[in-house]
């Protein structure tokens, strides 16, 4: 019964951001999005930054926020707990469609010890046993869900690890000597680069502001990335360090999700319309040109824009569970 | 006409030992009655039974024709407004002024809200000043109570009891903490309450001499029983011994 009392549509739109997007460097991106929302609905927008995935997700689930920019995994959890949570839009890939609306979950190791992770010249997951591993957060799609699913399916085939569970991966347990959580993709990457972890999981887009390809192609196993010399914090203390990718898995792009009960059908429509407009697609404050100095949520390499998405678009991630 | 009638009153705190056993006596309006007896005899308990500060175990207390023991909350509060009480340790709120403490005596007439808002009428305040003047401490009206001497504090206590407009004033060893001088002043004031205002006084006392000097009537208590009830002329040495037990008596006169 309490549900019903609270599910009124009010005239403030609360937007929740994950820790990854809560940094000061993304403020201009956040504000730009906020402006679009405000213009489309004529309502006031309040941003809520978080230190924690779970809080962000639950806030949306419990009708305490209207909109969240959340990972696919977070969206699925939110949707499971509250049907009213639905995707509004997803940023597309360079093609301008949802077909390549993916980013990549990496398993990375430091260049200097790359040989330790190869068997017969090929990278092999077997080598990560008993290593110090860094995830992002256990509600992260590309920083936990996707890599842990891969690791689990690999190891549970072996006799020694056949009882391995997702929780074992969170706690260290039989597989890893220690498990760290960076609490953000940036944090996980830094865990690797400053030597606290041997192997780290994080995603490409979250660190693209700080690193550049030094060798090989983007998003290809074996490619070497180097931290830019003038990288913003937290990467400034590991500037110039290099890592290489031992595994690359494509992950569905993160949606802007709405709580239909608190946002209301009307505003949902307005928002979807506004966000998918060409105007937004060409807004350089939101889709920042690739060569720009500044950090941003989304970059324009080709025809990137927002596209409406349906709930079942996320089924591939659901199936990972 | 008896203002207060006590009949077969018994009291036990722990349901085992009886502190008061089968006490009966009555007090006429305007009388000055002293209760004497050794420590632990039950004097304080007796006074507290009169205004129901402690519930009685059996027997009856009839005050002003109303059966005290059957009173419920509201009626009990009203009963208490008619009975003033004066304590050995004055029991004033030390951080408040004299006048505030005196006005506490009017709280029984207030609704909860009035009391919380400290709404006292001008008339009540004037009366408080009048009483303080009568008791000779008007000049201290705005002092904090803990800045007064014991004798002065006791006079505030008396003023607080009188402003209730009581028919009966119960005094539990009002002078036990005072020096001889202050004691005399207090006893004189209490005496004048009966003689001038016609208010009945029931006073617990330790000092037999004082009781004899001031009382119309003396009640002697020992181990919860009335062992003497009469005027001070009737209180012979032998009777005193009976009240206090022989050895006790010796100690007290030292």
């Amino acid at each position: 019964s309490t549900e019903e009392e609270k599910t009124e549509v009010d005239d403030v739109i609360d937007v929740v951001w994950y820790p990854n997007e809560s940094g000061e460097d993304l403020k201009s991106s956040r504000d730009e999005i906020g402006k679009v929302i405000a213009d489309a609905t004529g309502k006031e927008v309040e941003h809520h930054l978080t230190t924690d995935y779970a809080i962000a997700i639950e806030t949306l689930v419990n009708n305490n926020a209207d909109i969240a920019f959340m990972g696919a995994q977070g969206y699925i959890e939110a949707n499971e707990n509250n049907d009213a949570v639905q995707p509004i839009v997803v940023p597309t890939g360079p093609s301008g469609t949802l077909d390549d609306a993916v980013y990549h979950s990496w398993l990375a190791v430091n260049v200097d010890d790359q040989e330790n992770y190869k068997q017969d010249g090929e990278y092999s997951l077997d080598t990560i046993a008993d290593k110090k591993f860094s995830f992002v957060s256990n509600s992260s799609t590309s920083g936990f869900k996707v890599p842990s699913a891969g690791i689990l399916s690999h190891f549970t085939e072996q006799e020694e690890y056949k009882d391995l569970t997702e929780e074992d991966l969170m706690e260290g347990g039989p597989l890893f000597s220690q498990v760290l959580f960076g609490n953000s993709h940036q944090g996980s990457a830094v865990n690797l680069l400053d030597g606290n972890a041997d192997v780290a999981a994080f995603c490409d887009t979250c660190v693209e502001n700080y690193v550049e390809v030094a060798e090989g192609e983007e998003n290809e196993v074996g490619s070497i990335y180097k931290v830019k010399d003038d990288a913003e914090q937290p990467f400034n203390k590991v500037a110039g360090k290099e890592f290489t990718l031992m595994s690359v898995t494509p992950v569905l792009n993160a949606p802007f999700a709405a709580n239909m009960d608190t946002l209301g059908e009307e505003d949902f429509k307005k928002l979807q319309e506004a966000l998918t407009s060409d105007e937004v697609a060409s807004n350089e404050g939101i889709f920042v040109p690739e060569d720009a100095e500044q950090s941003a949520l989304f970059f324009k390499t080709d025809k990137e824009r927002f596209a409406p998405a349906e709930d079942d678009w996320f089924d591939p991630i659901r199936e990972l569970q | 006409m008896a203002l207060l009638q006590i009949a077969r009153l018994s009291k036990s705190y722990d349901n085992e030992t009886k502190v008061l056993k089968d006490i009966s006596f009555s007090v006429k309006a305007g009388e000055f009655v002293s209760i004497i007896g050794p420590s632990g005899a039950g004097k304080s308990t007796l006074l507290r039974c009169v205004n129901q500060m402690v519930p009685i175990s059996s027997g009856e207390v009839i005050f002003d024709n109303a059966p005290v023991t059957q009173l419920k909350k509201r009626a009990l509060r009203q009963l208490r407004t008619n009975i003033g009480m004066v304590f050995q340790h004055y029991n004033l709120v030390p951080r408040l002024t004299v006048i505030e403490n005196v006005l506490h005596g009017r709280l029984g007439y207030k609704t909860t809200l009035q009391g919380i808002m400290s709404r006292f009428t001008e008339k009540e305040k004037e009366q408080a000043f009048y009483l303080l003047r009568k008791l000779g401490i008007e000049e201290h009206a705005y002092k904090r109570c803990d800045q007064l001497s014991g004798g002065q504090q006791q006079r505030v206590g008396i003023a607080r009891a009188l402003i209730q407009g009581p028919k009966l004033v119960l005094c539990d060893e009002p002078i036990a903490s005072l020096d001889p001088n202050s004691s005399k002043i207090i006893m004189d004031h209490l005496k004048s309450i009966t003689s001038e205002l016609g208010i009945t006084c029931l006073v617990n006392l330790h000092q037999v001499e004082v009781a004899q000097q001031y009382s119309d009537r003396i009640i002697g208590l020992n181990q919860g029983e009335v062992v003497f009830d009469g005027t001070n002329y009737q209180l012979t040495e032998e009777k005193t011994n009976r009240i206090y037990g022989t050895e006790m008596r010796e100690l007290i006169t030292v």
Partner: protein, 285 residues
């Protein structure tokens, strides 16, 4: 001076030497407690998981970090104005949870004081308070963050719990110390329960209540910082968390630490004065 052994009152230890200890229960308990703590501490160090730790490097690094923090404080991600604002938010959270807590605690303390309330009510309130105290504040805040959503409401509600538990204990003890006679005298005039509270209890305990509340405010400031960092409650604590956990910006951590330190020390000076003034002996938190 000659000495003669007299066995009557002398106690001897098993080895025949004269004992000089009373061998009382309290002595034994003290010794036992200290031994127990010692054993537990040693065990603790043996049990610790030292994975991934290179002690010496870590110590050196910490030293360097502290140097950067304390000798090169700087603001990089926000301005002075924002810093003030964030400190204000933290103070605000502390104020709200303290004041609301004090008001609620006042009423609960009336129920928890043995001289003002029925025995069973007292017991119930005390058990609840003991339970609340046992749950760490951060768990309250996190739980409220999920249940009540982001924003200061969750933080304040979460912090309220401990404030109330702490103040109920302090207030009710103060109430219980009020002279029984005062309450008796007021009751004897026919005052109602509320009259007794307002005219007897309140004036007698007012300064204590104020001092305790302020002491709690001092604690709540620290709690508010912690909640900002650990539970995303906002304020300077959140900035501290971002500076350290996200940006790894030690200079900024240093700046924020200084800001917190200054406020905390000002509050401490105040509360020490209050303590010296109103509490003769030491105060337990």
């Amino acid at each position: 001076m000659e000495t003669v052994a007299n066995p009557t009152y002398m106690k001897r230890k098993r080895n025949g030497r004269i004992s000089i200890k009373a061998g009382s229960k309290s002595e034994r308990v003290i010794r036992l407690t200290m031994m127990l703590l010692f054993v537990l501490t040693v065990t603790a160090f043996l049990l610790f998981d030292y994975t991934g730790l290179e002690l010496w490097t870590a110590i050196v690094e910490t030293g360097q970090n502290l140097k950067v923090m304390f000798f090169e404080p700087a603001l990089n991600h926000f301005t002075w104005a924002e810093a003030f604002y964030q400190v204000g938010v933290t103070l605000g959270l502390a104020v709200l949870s303290t004041i609301i807590g004090a008001v609620i605690a006042f009423f609960l303390a009336l129920m928890a004081a043995t001289n003002l309330s029925k025995e069973w009510v007292t017991k119930v309130v005390r058990v609840i308070v003991a339970f609340i105290r046992a749950v760490p504040t951060v768990l309250w805040v996190l739980i409220f963050a999920i249940a009540a959503g982001l924003g200061s409401e969750a933080a304040v509600l979460g912090m309220l719990f401990h404030s109330i538990a702490y103040l109920v204990k302090a207030f009710s003890e103060a109430f219980e110390e009020v002279d029984k006679g005062i309450l008796e005298a007021l009751r004897a005039t026919g005052s109602s329960w509320w009259h007794v509270v307002i005219h007897g209890i309140m004036p007698s305990t007012f300064t204590y209540i104020l001092s305790w509340t302020f002491l709690r405010f001092e604690i709540n400031f620290a709690v508010a910082v912690a909640m900002g960092a650990a539970a995303g409650a906002g304020g300077i604590g959140f900035e501290l968390f971002m500076a350290s956990g996200f940006y790894f910006d030690l200079s900024e951590v240093g700046f924020i630490t200084y800001a917190i330190l200054i406020i905390a020390i000002i509050l401490e000076v105040f509360s020490t004065q209050l303590k010296n003034r109103y509490f003769p002996s030491s105060v337990r938190n």
